[in-house]
Symmetry: C2
Subunit: 664 residues, 2 copies
């Protein structure tokens, strides 16, 4: 697919376009640059052109003579023409394809829809670079031809705003990030046990008693939906039911069969509160609620959650058991299906299609629903084999702080799934899921980005674009581009380090954190009693997955041991190890001054000791001597003991040092 | 006033309280810490207690067992009691005094109003520090007694949202910053030639045609006012009239006598558009407009601007001249007074007092208005001598990027003003003014903070708290505290540097910028043709006033030359000079890679050369030789030529190097 021309370096873009031909020349930018719109001059397209010029101006410092796109290009200067055949609908399956042609004389971006043009503008912006030509502004674009379209039509990011509320500006900046990497669905997880986040006029106690005052007004929601639509992004609301509803019960305890009163849940986990699916009043409530919410959220899909319902409390209730018997419902799963089908009917009466987590895929479920597979991809295969549609989230749980490469290798549609063409077409795509138990507005971007860009590429680009090393090379640039788009994943790390360092130099802390990552999966929860009001400002929160320096160190060690690069890696490996070895001495006064760091004192010492072992191993290697087995055995034991996480972070260079010490 | 006890180091607080007695003991924090409210348990106070616990938890990493303030302290643990006698009104002159008593056994904060308690909480939070005690959490507060109240009742920050629109989150985070340093008035400059920023239902073309779509909805405005009130901060709206109204005319050209059509102004400066003060329709418009706006903005004061009206266009209009003749108005100033008095009457009918810029203080102005002195303090003296009230902004123009010490030394009320007690009481305070021609949401915090904290201290603390060196020492901590409160003045600088460095190491750029500051006053405007759509992402925008390393270098050189510190300063001075001298070599490849930096190439070279001169001077000094006058003369000429600004920044260490070279 990627067919480089004479420009041998491929651009740092992400997602990689479907078809590319690089040419040799360049388009040079100067202050006369202008954009002209042909065809469907939609408001969305005009605004996108203004934003593009703003971004190019900000990056280059060029004082453009024009402030916005014009009807026709001035004859005097080469510029850019954007041409859409028609306005795009912000709905599933809309045409997002585009062609981009950059020549020395001008840029032409054309597409069926204005949304396709928006996708192409992001590609173009990623191509902006410095020119070797000393004449002119120094900025320009490489000449090339791109024909691009997405592999999957549903490319989403879930943001949970229930566990920790995320104010509107957090959502808006993440929409800009999504647009930059061509994601097209914001899955907004708006209610859960820990908070109900939407102003609801029909049932004002939902947000009134279920949110601690932290909710979106309907005006804010309309603004966010419009902002998303302006970027060709759908907004799919999720109201999780019949479980995960404690926050609803604070205001409306009659929704459940269990005795109240209820208050907003402050702890994490799965709670046994569930709606009573046997009462008529439950459906009357939902009918009115859904009527209001479908008036607010225009997307054709409506997410009803449906996950993690504990059947036991239902089964303990004699009235519910009697109802089940009467309706021939053998177990809790059947009762939930009964509920799901009733809700699906309500949704259908409001022209909405249902989407839910894979628990709703029970034998009784009828077609027409979209299944979101989170527990495994089996449900995805089952759903499409039963004629339903499905999206994949299993493997895209970015809250679990796994490496970008792990998510990148996770493909929603692989040959070993043995799907027919029709079944494969029902695999709509996937969604990264940002669950918010352990993030705040300060840290959330650092858990979403840049890793979600790798997932975005998996969902947009051809399946054979999958080299993790090349992905990591490009991700470094993309991460900076995302920061320029307004995201805080880099800048807020500095804020957190400065807080942790209590006004002193953050250098030693940065060196320490370059060798650690937060513990993965759900492990943090077992280490401290987190609640909704726990501080998330500690070392683990300032640490990020894919610690870049550690990753590079590990790669260098691999390469050194394989002998691939001669021994050119020995020197950078040694320099890095010396930095780590000497760091503990600098950390000690910092820890004394800032007691919040006390929890990493032994970890800091271990990093120093591990680095010392690495240096000894390098010395053995340099001298050609083989260490005695007593040494290697002792070293292995010591490294093992250092692997114990502390402060919910762990050293991620121990394996490389172990290999170095055993010279293999 | 400041009476340290045995704790010899005074805290890094700002503003310094009126009366302090330091004790020797400490209050130690642990996770059982709780806050209890006595007396008037207002919602504002409860929320402030929750925020305080959140901030302490974030700083210390302590997992508090309680999430919010309780009715009574648990017997088991020492904690904090907050006691207000009554709910405070968010209006001019409300009691903001408080007493704070910290002992090893507990903390007691008491005040007449809950707003006084809020002020005391900020003092308390600034006292949080690390404990030498290895037992316990390591955090606590020094024991002391504070009795505090403000010197002036009007302590404001003006934010101009017309020249560059500032979204709601910019305003909200600045309100948090204001609260942290006890400012109590947000002066919101909502309209000007370049934009009208309020949703107006009675005249929807004001925001509809006057804002490019960038305005606050009334719901947003109500939210911001409530957020401010929750922090004891008044919001004074300014709608500038009769001049500075081009954006109004885009929708309502009939407001002026001049022929339209009009469009939003894109350039900076003073424009000759003004309302026609002779038409009845103008006042009918204003009556309806003010009726709506006073319904939206509850503060008792309403700012009508009144500045920079050019009389000439009025005088050129025969109808206006006829009107003036008929009403005995001799000149444009009298005509403006005529207008002002009519508007004041409209305001009075809506229970609002008028405030305006010092141009409204003409001989015909009657009492009851507040004068905001910006052109000089003469108008302030005149206003109070005529029985009016006044606030000072002259000397607080933070958009002009002058040093914090300059603003800090600017006192609204000095003995040489020779005011009577009654007159002095009418000097209500002052306001820092953030005019927004050259700032964006990305940079605005860096122009407001931390310097505005020094102004806040001038307006709150006793007049004799005025040592600039001590202010600078404290300002370093306060700046970090303000960042933790959500401001972006530090973090966004990193963002801008990374953009400028185009993905490479920002180190050399940081070293260069450590020796430069943006050009001051209005000089930038003469250097480039700025408009509303110019990029503000260049070197000048990433530079800040009070460049910290340069300031320290200059102080060290002063001290070295005075001989005060022996010659202990020679070594750090040399180290800094070597860093600057060697930096140009590192800058060159960066400039090649990032053409936006080309404009500082010669400046970078000059820094290197200036540092080389400084090093030669140090060598002369070390060897005891006196340089020949040929050398000193040549050096003086060369340093003078380096003083030329480039890229709208200037080297701010040249004077110190000149002194070093001439050994005086």
């Amino acid at each position: 697919m990627l067919t480089p021309g004479k420009n041998s370096v491929t651009p740092d873009w992400m997602p990689v376009p479907a078809e590319v031909r690089m040419h040799t020349d360049r388009f040079s930018l100067d202050s006369s640059f202008a954009v002209s719109i042909e065809g469907a001059a939609t408001d969305r397209l005009s605004r996108a052109c203004v934003r593009l010029m703003r971004r190019v101006s900000d990056r280059t410092g060029l004082f453009f003579q024009r402030e916005s796109a014009t009807g026709a290009l001035p004859l005097s200067a080469p510029g850019m023409t954007v041409a859409a055949q028609r306005e795009g609908r912000v709905s599933l399956g809309e045409d997002e394809s585009y062609s981009l042609e950059i020549s020395a004389q001008g840029i032409r971006l054309s597409a069926v829809t204005d949304i396709g043009c928006l996708r192409g503008m992001e590609t173009l912006f990623q191509l902006l670079d410095a020119d070797a030509d000393p004449e002119g502004s120094g900025y320009g674009f490489p000449c090339l031809t791109v024909r691009d379209k997405p592999r999957f039509p549903w490319r989403g990011l879930l943001i949970d705003v229930s566990r920790h509320f995320m104010p509107a500006d957090v959502i808006l900046r993440n929409l800009d990030g999504m647009a930059a990497v061509k994601l097209n669905v914001l899955h907004w997880h708006l209610s859960d046990d820990q908070g109900f986040r939407v102003e609801t006029r029909s049932f004002p106690k939902l947000h009134g008693l279920g949110s601690d005052g932290f909710y979106y007004s309907q005006e804010e929601i309309r603004g966010i939906i419009a902002y998303a639509a302006d970027r060709g992004i759908r907004v799919v609301p999720e109201f999780d039911m019949p479980g995960h509803v404690t926050s609803w019960l604070a205001g409306y305890p009659e929704l459940t069969h269990r005795p109240g009163p209820f208050r907003i849940e402050r702890r994490w986990g799965v709670w046994s509160s569930a709606m009573d699916p046997t009462r008529k009043s439950t459906y009357r409530f939902l009918e009115r609620f859904i009527a209001e919410m479908t008036g607010l959220f225009p997307d054709e899909y409506f997410h009803i959650g449906g996950d993690e319902v504990e059947g036991k409390p239902w089964m303990e209730d004699p009235d519910i058991r009697a109802y089940m018997k009467k309706h021939g419902l053998p177990d809790a799963a059947a009762l939930q299906t009964h509920f799901t089908l009733r809700v699906q009917k309500i949704l259908a009466s409001h022209d909405r299609k249902m989407i839910g987590w894979d628990e709703i895929l029970t034998p009784g479920l009828q077609s027409g629903a979209v299944i979101q597979s989170w527990r495994g991809r089996e449900s995805l295969v089952e759903a499409v084999s039963r004629g339903m549609s499905a999206i994949l989230s299993n493997g895209y749980y970015i809250d679990l702080v796994q490496p970008a490469a792990f998510h990148y290798s996770n493909d929603p549609l692989t040959p070993d799934m043995n799907l027919s063409e029709a079944e494969a077409a029902n695999v709509l795509g996937g969604e990264a899921t940002m669950w918010a138990e352990l993030v705040t507005p300060e840290t959330v971007d650092s858990r979403i980005w840049p890793r979600t860009a790798a997932i975005a590429e998996r969902l947009w680009s051809p399946a054979d674009i999958r080299d993790p090393e090349d992905m990591h090379r490009r991700l470094r640039s993309v991460s900076l581009m995302l920061e320029q788009a307004g995201l805080t994943h880099i800048r807020n790390r500095g804020v957190m380090m400065r807080r942790l360092a209590a006004g002193t130099d953050t250098g030693p802390l940065e060196i320490l954190l370059s060798a650690v990552e937060p513990v993965k999966n759900y492990r943090r929860h077992s280490m401290r009693p987190f609640t909704t009001f726990s501080p998330l400002t500690c070392v683990a929160d300032a640490s990020v997955p894919d610690a870049e320096k550690a990753r590079r160190f590990n790669t260098l060690v691999e390469s050194l041991l394989s002998g691939a690069g001669g021994s050119s890696e020995a020197e950078p490996v040694r320099r890095q190890l010396i930095l780590w070895r000497d760091n503990h001495e600098a950390m000690l006064p910092l820890i004394r001054r800032s007691p919040i760091l006390a929890e990493i004192e032994s970890l800091s010492e271990d990093l120093s000791r591990a680095a010392e072992i690495g240096l000894q191993a390098l010395d053995f290697r340099a001298s050609g001597r083989t260490p005695e087995s007593v040494w290697t055995n002792e070293v292995r034991t010591r490294l093992e003991s250092m692997a114990e996480p502390r402060a919910e972070v762990e050293l991620v260079i121990l394996d490389a040092i172990r290999k170095l010490a055993s010279q293999q």
